[in-house]
């Protein structure tokens, strides 16, 4: 990592991480920050602890995706606690299950904010769960760190979005594939809900207006549908240069398996997807993905030292078979950003924390340095990974820094 101003990491990921963060912020002691001063709004902050909520689906269909986020957030919090916590206060986790049910997210968010008075919440995964919980955060003036790449069109003072918004993930990826593969015709396919639809809308405009290409087909699959025979035949008929895919959940696995079986493997067909991370590969199987591309801001295989350390710590904590996808890494950023924000603000008060975070650059993020912008999204790079049979992606392209633009002009 060239931008890193430090050298000589100590062995052992945990110790390394402790030291790393320690070097940046300096050790803080609770005594320097009396509770009455740092907590003026009645949050669950004592002289020795601060309560933070984790709100993801541990059960239901979304548990498949959200488990990684829970693990990353817990790991980050344990590391923060091991190096002394935030302003000398250990983080106590209160974990709630959103049960893959959007209203439950709202209910649990309310419970965390109103009953437990948590100082911040790491959570939500799907847009629907965030949309359901958002009014609660806004009304109770809570703080949410949201890890998933999403469709944008949102900006709340109560949320920090640690994943990419749609334009960050889409535009540079399309530029790359159009240039690299000389692609002119695109087939867009996604699951039938807001994120794929919004993403495809942006992709279509970009393809038509900036790349001067053609969209030869646009297709949406009912959530949970597992039969792709007809869709694949339509694609075969249109023979697009690139399939641009945003299929999710159980459908995603079926999509790749059936695509491959129908002879459309990477030797015949270029595909760029924005919905496959290392987590999904577990279910799809590397052999069905080999050669296809994903556009993400992070891949587990990145070989910068911060990432190596992170991967090692993650596997040590959650087992050697654990994999880390884009969202998992973004979830890992949440607690660290929160820690930095509180320390910059010198207070746990939500308003002060909110004000303190924009402008901060987190240099030790596994993906590489990220900067929090005034619109509460992160400036990040985009990477294109090409999947191998082993279920890991080789990073074949890394973009420049891309500023977040949740309300992109000309794409709405």
């Amino acid at each position: 990592m060239s931008t890193s101003n430090r050298r000589g990491f100590m062995k052992g990921a945990l110790v390394g991480a402790m030291m790393a963060a320690g070097l940046i912020s300096g050790h803080a002691f609770a005594a320097d920050y009396p509770t009455a001063k740092v907590n003026t709004t009645g949050l669950a902050v004592t002289d020795s602890t601060v309560k933070v909520g984790i709100l993801h689906s541990a059960t239901g269909t979304m548990a498949i995706s959200e488990t990684g986020s829970i693990q990353a957030e817990k790991l980050a919090i344990e590391q923060i606690n091991a190096m002394g916590g935030i302003l000398g206060r250990k983080i106590e986790i209160i974990q709630e299950d959103g049960a893959s049910d959007w209203p439950t997210f709202a209910e649990k968010a309310k419970k965390l904010l109103e009953k437990d008075k948590v100082a911040a919440v790491m959570g939500c995964w799907t847009s629907a769960s965030r949309k359901a919980a958002l009014p609660v955060f806004e009304k109770d003036n809570g703080l949410l760190f949201y890890p998933t790449f999403y469709e944008g069109l949102e900006q709340s003072k109560n949320v920090f979005y640690t994943g990419q918004e749609a334009t960050q993930q889409i535009l540079a990826g399309l530029d790359w594939i159009a240039k690299e593969k000389k692609a002119k015709t695109f087939y867009l396919i996604g699951s039938d809900y807001i994120w794929p639809r919004t993403s495809m809308k942006i992709a279509r405009k970009h393809i038509e207006q900036h790349l001067h290409g053609t969209v030869v087909g646009e297709e949406y699959i009912a959530l949970g549908d597992t039969q792709f025979g007809s869709v694949i035949n339509k694609i075969k008929l249109k023979k697009p240069d690139v399939i641009y895919a945003a299929v999710v959940g159980g459908s995603n696995v079926a999509w790749f398996k059936q695509l491959n079986a129908a002879g459309l493997n990477s030797s015949k067909q270029t595909m760029l997807t924005i919905s496959v991370t290392e987590d999904e590969v577990l279910g799809i199987g590397g052999e069905n993905l080999a050669g296809f591309y994903s556009a993400m801001k992070y891949f587990q295989s990145q070989d910068n030292p911060e990432n190596k350390k992170f991967v090692e710590a993650f596997k040590k904590r959650w087992g050697k078979d654990a994999v880390i996808g884009d969202v998992t890494q973004a979830a890992y950023l949440g607690p660290w950003l929160y820690k930095a924000a509180v320390e910059r603000a010198g207070s746990f008060d939500v308003d002060k924390v909110q004000a303190a975070l924009p402008g901060y650059t987190f240099k030790d993020a596994p993906e590489g340095p990220v900067t929090v912008e005034a619109n509460h999204h992160l400036t990040t790079k985009l990477r294109i990974g090409q999947w191998g049979k082993d279920g890991q992606a080789k990073v074949v392209y890394t973009s420049d820094y891309i500023k977040p633009d949740p309300f992109p002009k000309g794409y709405q």
Partner: protein, 305 residues
């Protein structure tokens, strides 16, 4: 279809025909076990999808074991056998502790098996983790068979097709050509009478239920080749399975076959000409409309009441 060559269209027609057939066999395999449990026994088994998931996880586990012994080529045959046995055994046990107390309350079996499905999902999650997993497929099952350079026939589709044919044949032989089948049918038609002529109806029930579950296990194993395996995978299949069985006329295995065929062709064609999600909705609407007009399904046995 302007702008495409005749050859293109010809190829698509062939492949589309195959994809309709392939969907047919998938639906059939999904529904066969339920046709026995729901159609013959009247048990509304909402945990049918979870029995399929048992088969799927079994296959995944065996593929892992096989891989570690360098034995990946033909493990699938064993996996299917073990998936059947395991799902059969669980079904046998479930019948014994739960279902047999509920035969006279069919709507209650729906609620109880719903509870069962929740419990099974959590068992899967606790044992295998919340994330999806995949079975490593043998080399020969990947890719496609090419009669001409432009036509791809998916091998896993062919595999599911062959398996569905075998299982259907097996079920047919069992139900209509074996002594056991005779007992099953006798018990279903007139329990008291069957008991009176010396059939152990309790045992027949148990084996029949377990058999239906075992077939679900086979289906689950086969579906690892085309779809996902996770704790909640079963929920993807349950409604389709019931639709097939009900649409076919619950008590008729021929009906189940016919209805799987009809639904698959309709959905396959509609999804080709409409968007996938509207194709699915339209298919369901057509089924529901037909069912409203002909509630007994396509192949109801006409009885003189």
């Amino acid at each position: 279809m302007f702008g495409y060559s005749m050859a293109d269209i010809g190829n698509i027609v062939v492949m589309q025909g195959f994809s309709g057939l392939s969907m047919f066999t998938v639906l059939l395999l999904m529904a066969l076990g339920l046709a026995i449990i729901f159609g013959q026994m009247g048990v509304i088994n909402m945990a049918h999808g979870e029995f399929m998931t048992i088969g799927a996880y079994t296959t995944v586990l065996i593929s892992k074991v096989a891989a570690s012994y360098g034995f990946t080529d033909y493990y699938f045959v064993f996996a299917i056998a073990i998936a059947f046995l395991l799902a059969f055994a669980v079904g046998y046990f479930v019948e014994f502790i739960m279902i047999r107390h509920l035969y006279k309350r069919p709507l209650d079996t729906l609620l109880a098996t719903w509870g069962l499905s929740l419990v099974m999902q959590q068992i899967f999650r606790s044992s295998f983790g919340a994330k999806e997993v995949s079975a490593e497929l043998p080399e020969w099952m990947l890719g496609s068979f090419k009669p001409t350079p432009d036509i791809d026939i998916p091998i896993n589709g062919v595999f599911v097709m062959v398996l569905a044919a075998l299982v259907t044949f097996g079920v047919y032989m069992f139900m209509y050509k074996s002594r056991w089948g005779l007992r099953v049918r006798a018990t279903v038609q007139n329990r008291t009478m069957a008991g009176a002529v010396g059939i152990n109806t309790a045992k027949v029930d148990r084996v029949t239920f377990a058999l239906g579950c075992g077939i679900a296990g086979i289906a689950g194993a086969a579906f690892t080749t085309i779809a996902s395996t996770g704790p909640t995978t079963g929920t993807l299949y349950i409604v389709d399975s019931f639709m097939v069985v009900v649409f076919g006329g619950a008590a008729s295995i021929v009906g189940t076959i016919a209805s799987a065929f009809g639904i698959a062709q309709a959905q396959s064609i509609l999804q080709f000409f409409m968007t996938s999600s509207m194709g699915k909705v339209s298919t369901l609407l057509v089924i529901v409309t037909i069912l409203m007009m002909k509630p007994e399904g396509l192949f109801a046995s006409k009885l003189r009441k």
